[in-house]
Amino acid sequence: MNYLLRFFDEHQPRRIRVIENTLRNRRTVSTLFWAKQYGILGWTGADRSLNREKFDQLLENLVQDNLIKIDSDGQAVLTTPGILKQEELKSEEYQPQFLDWYWLANTNRVERRLLLGVQVVSELTYHNRHYAPLTNEYQELQLVKRWLFNCRQNIIKQLTDELKIFGSSLANADERLANYFFYSLIGHQTAGENILQLSKQLGISTDQMPVVKQDALLAVAAFANSYRGGALNQLLADLLTETPLSYSANQTLMLYQRGQTIEQIAKRRRIKANTVREHLLETAIVYPTAINWDQLLPGEIRQQLAKHYQGDVSKWQFKPEIVPGDQAAFYYFRLYQLYREKQDD
């Protein structure tokens, strides 16, 4: 069974492209908005190597097995057998625990850097200089070389201590996760276990393995992020981001928090007013605690919208004739959806 079945619902029709774009980390405001509606925001970037062909093939398999139905608008719901199957799988599916950190790093890059760092230190502890590094990428090799040089003094002890603490916290969350993590590491005279082996040893199906991997890597990124000055932090620092927002959206937010209007920000940053609005919407979706709703969505607009829109926000239809704000009407509509949703939480 492929792991995509977990993303569908029996009542809420879900856009398949939103699911695809979420997994592949294609962060448009629309994708982020719907991912949040579907409760899958944490899966953003969880399968970056997925491509359209593979995704469509996996969905096609679900359709053929009569587990989901896809309508002509590209929205899918679970069928009755699909509901049963999803229920049945719940007990055997791996349940990720670190997805809240989805925004922290590109896990593919974390994996490569981390594994290279561990490999280099492992070979160092065995005094071996004749080995093939797991990647020949020039920049990665240079970065790890510099890391090793900077904390050479006690790198072995530091890294071992940190990995012990990290391992214990993983094992607390799920013993399988700790085993996955350490058995996939590459080092002196060991290439780690491959996916088929790990799947067998952990009792988790191969289809679920990308989920386990994503979880373990987000966990290590979160650990490196919190353990400032540590060996893992120094190894991964440039791969970790500060906020869930994109760089540009964060720039916009800072100006907005200083009280600048959308027009002022647009002028200062030499971007379109609409781009500024997109940035603010992105903030309202992925970083809602940074939002001052009274500033962002004035009370009078809220009142006007409240007359026309009630109930389940995901079913609201945007009607330009009844939403105030002219060019910014859709922006207000979306903001109000997010606002209501927050109120209902």
Binding site: S49, E111, R112, L115, V118, V121, S122, T125, Y126, R129, H130, Y131, A132, P133, L134, T135, N136, E137, Y138, Q139, Q142, I156, L159, T160, L163, K164, G167, A171, R176, A178, N179, F181, F182, Y183, L185, I186, G187, H188, Q189, T190, A191, G192, E193, N194, I195, L196, Q197, K200, Q201, L202, G203, T206
Partner: protein, 488 residues
């Protein structure tokens, strides 16, 4: 002039060998005397030594053009393992700042590996022009003349690249080249045949035995494969025409046989490929299900059998692929499984929808958009950008199509043959005569051949540790060479 004695000393000090293999000394001497050289040595004949050894004797850098990233990776890894760190790989993965950094330090690298595509980049050529290239190596040089699915038009630019680099001494390496291909390669590289030293050795690998099994349906072929894999001794590779099948069979064979199996192809993430390759080397995995292109980087001495679940496009590819077996000199099996319709797979893989020459000219004159050229528009625009007109392209590709058909006819002859010794057929194809028939040789001369490669019953691999036996702490200690008891 460097003496033979000196060469032997370097061979021993740098590579740990006490004598040269067939054709190596002759090639190295030619190269060191600045002769452009074409070396055709059998698979597993130690071709990388032909540029690595001169690398330690010549000033400047050795530039190696390699057709596949996996192959480059493999060469670079091997140099790393031998302790040589002055190695650089320039390909599509090296971009931005790190590329600028690497290019600015280019002269510090002894061995620079690159792809024909990267050599089409002016920035890279510019940097290479600034350093001394003492030897220009084209690995798998038959690709220059290849008409198969890996068709790479950039190979045709290598001749002008060589000119731009001020004509460094050139070494062309391949394991499989018919006399026509040799001539074609030399000509396409812009060299004069009479001025090129040719070191040609037989493609024959006497320790590889050839066999073909024919089936009526894919199902029959499948069940035979499962049964056979269970019985065959040692490590092996099975080649499939698609990644999907390679992956499917890896899982199935893992379940249904006593071997530990993994899929290995371009769709497998690179870290996972690294693991699988290492495990295969260490015999933790005994069987690899691969696609043709990605089997190329695998270099393991004791591969006992290579099975083709689907036939390759031509006998060159077949000889290359089965040539991964028996590098240790011991008896090995090359088995091709066939069922009706298999040849169609290659026909489809190789098919190129050829546009009309007028349409090509119209695109060239910008009267039509590029996308009218269909799926292979990039290929055709490459030719248009390099001075070909519609008629020339049309003729080139028509010739290519005929070539493919011709190659497939040869494959069919090989598959359908029940009378002529298979080794003799292969040698004839490469313009050679069989001088001596080894025993055993092939399933024509010896019908019970395959049985020779089966192991005694009850030879099982060690089972994997189960979930309860995993211990992440122990694993951490092992990784960092920590004595567990002392620690606690």
């Amino acid at each position: 002039m460097i003496s033979e004695q000196r060469l032997l000393t370097v061979l021993n000090e740098e590579f740990g060998f006490s004598s040269f293999r067939e054709g190596q000394l002759e090639t190295i001497k030619a190269v060191l005397n600045n002769h452009d050289t074409l070396a055709v040595l059998p698979t597993g004949g130690g071709k990388s030594l032909l540029y690595q050894l001169p690398g330690y004797l010549l000033p400047g850098s050795i530039l190696i053009v390699s057709p596949l990233i996996s192959l480059m990776q493999d060469q670079v890894d091997r140099l790393h393992r031998s302790g040589e760190k002055r190695v650089l790989m320039i390909n599509g993965q090296l971009t931005g700042k790190s590329r600028r950094q690497a290019l600015s330090k280019l002269s510090t690298f002894k061995f620079i590996f690159t792809s024909p595509e990267s050599l089409a980049n002016p920035e890279i050529i510019g940097a290479l022009k600034m350093i001394k290239i003492s030897l220009f190596v084209v690995d798998e040089a038959h690709c220059i003349s290849q008409w198969g699915p890996d068709f790479r038009p950039e190979y045709l630019l290598l001749s002008s690249v060589r000119k731009r680099l001020d004509l460094p001494t050139t070494l062309l390496l391949t394991a499989t080249a018919t006399p026509e291909v040799r001539q074609d390669v030399i000509q396409k590289m812009g060299l004069q045949a009479e001025a090129v030293t040719q070191v040609i050795r037989s493609v024959n690998r006497s320790n590889i035995c050839y066999a073909v099994k024919r089936f009526l349906s894919t199902n029959e072929k499948e069940s035979y494969l499962i049964e056979l894999v269970n019985e065959l001794a040692g490590a092996g590779i099975i080649y499939f025409a698609s990644r999907k099948l390679a992956t499917q069979f890896a899982e199935e064979l893992n379940e249904k046989t006593n071997k530990v199996v993994a899929a290995y192809h371009a769709g497998i993430p690179s870290l996972e490929r690294y693991r699988i390759q290492q495990q295969f080397m260490d015999n933790q995995i005994q069987l690899i299900c691969a696609t043709s292109a990605f089997g190329m980087g695998i270099d393991k001495g004791d591969i006992r059998f290579v099975i083709h679940f689907h036939q390759p496009a031509n006998l060159e590819s077949y000889v290359q692929e089965v040539g991964r077996a028996g590098r240790d000199g011991k008896l090995s099996l090359a088995l091709l499984l066939y069922c009706p319709g298999d040849e169609q797979i290659q026909r489809t893989l190789n098919y190129i929808d050829l546009p009309d020459s007028n349409l090509l000219d119209a695109v060239s004159k910008k009267q039509q958009p590029v996308n009218v050229l269909g799926d292979n528009q990039e290929l055709f625009t490459f030719y248009l950008q390099h001075g070909y007109n519609g008629k020339m392209i049309f003729n080139t590709f028509e010739k290519r199509q005929k070539n493919i058909d011709n190659h497939l006819r040869w494959m069919a002859r090989y598959v359908n043959n029940t009378k002529i010794c298979r080794r003799e057929m292969i040698l004839n194809y490469f313009g050679e005569q069989l001088k001596e028939t080894p025993a055993p040789c092939c399933d024509v001369t010896e019908p019970e051949l395959i049985d020779k490669f089966k192991h005694e019953p009850q030879q099982n691999s060690e089972p994997l540790p189960g979930v309860s036996e995993l211990n992440w702490q122990a694993r951490l200690y092992q990784l960092f060479n920590i004595n567990n008891n002392k620690e606690n």
